[in-house]
Symmetry: C2
């Protein structure tokens, strides 16, 4: 089936917002086996929207729209689509009560214009919005389908996953199954080169690589007659992928690295602490973003100044004086002292130059990550310093981008903690 994605939103045409909705929907439609022929973006203008629907349905049988379902006057998507399909808007009782409940639950006063969001085409299938106020819907006529979803990406993606994906997968023949494998420590070109024999070898399962900030994913998808066949084809291929690049894989189930680490810490009954300089709390925040993190992460220190490193954590002032705060020696001491201070099983530290500017003789991207581990019951004895297993790594990203340097440092911290637990 041929499809198009049509996004309504002046903020997109103004260049204020990047159109991640089109990317997300296209990716999902690809997984479902649809051919996406077009993306369109148009403002809140009924005439232009109508003309695009005409153009679009010449080639395509499915259009997914986002945006223009909100409470304000310029939100006109529903009206235009209903008219286009010869339908009319009526109040959907369930949406109306959900809407009212939403405002009560979130303790806010509902203004009159919000009611508009419960107006929906009379012949539509309604998709409830579990994350916001505007419901989505599906309308079809003569084998042409329109699915309308709200514009805010968080609401849209949740609604797509929960309502649209299952609906569309039933419309496709065969049973699609896929897994997303996540890797850390190998670039996309290297990953693709390594997997080329598998990628070229065949058409099902398909293997595709995707680069994300600082890491890469591999999608392995199969569409056979039954789900069982698809699943076993995917699993077989995952085995082959492991043989080639197994060392880099940290999840077979598209999980965040932080989630994988938190699960690992909890399952091994280990506690973690952090002493952060250049990431300024981003590591702790990333870990505590995972529900259940309080079982393994009890405390952390944001030691942005030398004074804080010394007084809050107990870093040796002489090391800072001798080597500066941006050094292997200080990163190591931060990890060792943090371990003691927090009485934790493992401590990760980071100190460096996030950028964009240089500092003293250090260029941005000079970032030292340290890990100290109390081996306790563990036996291997390499890298033991003062009874602690200890590693330090200079990331040396050579980047000036502050945000990227911070994110990459956090990923490297997660990776170092994970690998330290795994090997020891």
């Amino acid at each position: 089936m041929k499809a198009a994605v049509l996004c309504v939103g002046t903020e997109l045409l103004f260049g204020q917002t990047v159109n991640t909705n089109a990317t997300y929907i296209s990716h999902q439609l690809q997984l479902l086996g649809f051919d996406v022929l077009y993306h369109y973006v148009v403002g809140d203008n009924p005439q232009r929207l109508e003309r695009l629907l005409d153009v679009c349905f010449e080639d395509c049988d499915l259009i997914i729209t986002t945006g223009g379902l909100g409470p304000t006057e310029d939100d006109l998507t529903k009206e235009t689509i209903a008219k286009y399909f010869g339908d009319e808007l009526v109040y959907d009782e369930e949406s109306l009560s959900r809407l009212k409940k939403y405002f009560v639950d979130t303790n806010r006063k509902m203004t009159e214009n919000n009611l508009k969001q419960a107006l929906l085409p009379s012949k539509s299938i309604v998709f409830p919005n579990s994350y916001g106020t505007a419901p989505g819907f599906l309308l079809s006529k003569d084998e042409k389908y329109i699915i309308s979803l709200p514009g805010p990406p968080k609401e849209m993606t949740k609604m797509f996953d929960k309502e649209v994906f299952p609906y569309l997968s039933k419309k496709q023949n065969g049973a699609l199954f896929y897994k997303i494998i996540r890797t850390y420590g190998i670039g996309e070109s290297a990953l693709e080169t390594a997997l080329l024999p598998l990628i070229h070898g065949q058409t099902d399962p398909t293997i595709a690589t995707y680069a994300k900030e600082g890491e890469c994913s591999i999608r392995i998808a199969s569409k056979r007659e039954t789900l069982q066949e698809s699943e076993s084809a995917v699993d077989m291929m995952i085995g082959k992928v492991y043989e080639i690049i197994g060392d880099y894989i940290y999840s077979e189930n598209d999980e965040e690295y932080a989630k994988v680490l938190v699960d690992k810490l909890i399952s091994e009954n280990l506690t973690l602490t952090s002493v952060e300089s250049c990431t300024g709390g981003m590591f702790a925040s990333t870990i505590t973003d995972i529900s259940g993190a309080s079982n393994c992460f009890k405390r952390g220190y944001v030691t942005y100044s030398n004074e804080s490193k010394i007084h809050d954590v107990g870093v040796d002032a002489k090391l800072i004086e001798k080597y500066t705060a941006v050094s292997e020696e200080v990163a190591r001491d931060m990890a060792i002292k943090g371990l003691e201070k927090a009485n934790a099983d493992i401590c990760v530290s980071v100190t460096g130059i996030a950028g964009p500017d240089s500092w003293e003789n250090f260029s941005p991207g000079t970032i030292f990550v340290g890990v100290a581990f109390n081996p306790g019951k563990r036996t291997k004895d390499k890298d033991i310093i003062g009874g602690r297993l200890c590693f330090v790594q200079n990331l040396d990203t050579r980047r000036t981008d502050r945000n990227k340097n911070r994110k990459y440092a956090v990923l490297a911290m997660i990776d170092m903690v994970y690998k330290t637990i795994k090997i020891s």
Copy 2:
């Protein structure tokens, strides 16, 4: 002049790449005073591309394309556009020699297919590519213009800035000016309702509201004969907006709230610290994401456990025992003790239930934010506790979404610190 952006690229339709090119070009065209009516994305398919050109030129006089100018067989943009305008491709000598030089300079062997990139429509104005191999070009006929740029964002943006922007700015009548105002503490519906008299009153300046996570923006744009006239029309309207919802405005220049706060702290020579429980470092991370934050933020504490609250910051254990860690009393003590511990001028604390699950008798979204301020030279004396100015607020978001609760709490913390400084 009305314009459209047409991006050619299968990777966009596959959902592998986010279309930042459309965003960038739209933003630049807005600045230049063009009305952008459409974005289109299409694959390397001459028939569909041609049809879109037809559709596009019905409304628009300018189309900017990106992508499909490369050396490989499926790059067909130039051929299609030349044919559409009744032109033909010929070798451009200058492009040919630049191309050869590029490969010599970068010490790479040039394969034969690269020569294709020096083939350009005979009647076009050529834009050299200073960052890659494929040149861009402009072709026009009967007051309809096409500008074709390469797909890689780095090459495209450089070429746009250097070649296209100066060319287009000469073609424009009128001068667009806009400002984006950011607000906190008022929802989009309420904001629009409040501004309705201004929104309905007129066509220039235009006023539009946008909701973002936990906050709202207002865009005020004017297009008059001269930039000065547009600017003063926008400024006059901003004055009217201030009269209505001035209390909620924190930036007139589309700045992040964290940036506004960091600037304010630095300008008032104040230092800030944080004691975070449920946000787990996210506040510190948000502040230190701002370049220059080290001038006002020296240290922070992630006190996820009671033990950490007591031992790392000095919170009174009896208060935790009496009121539990999720209480106004403990939030206040975290702020006051954090202030002392870090020797800072202001301390913000947070303790609560991020969710998704409840804890003891507390439902998710029960979040106490505290601020303690050492008034020092300041004079007003309300809310003084132990010599400290102190406030606590229960956000009571009634949400179960962990991520939203954490983000909203961080925004509320920024707002409380900002307002505390402003009023005292």
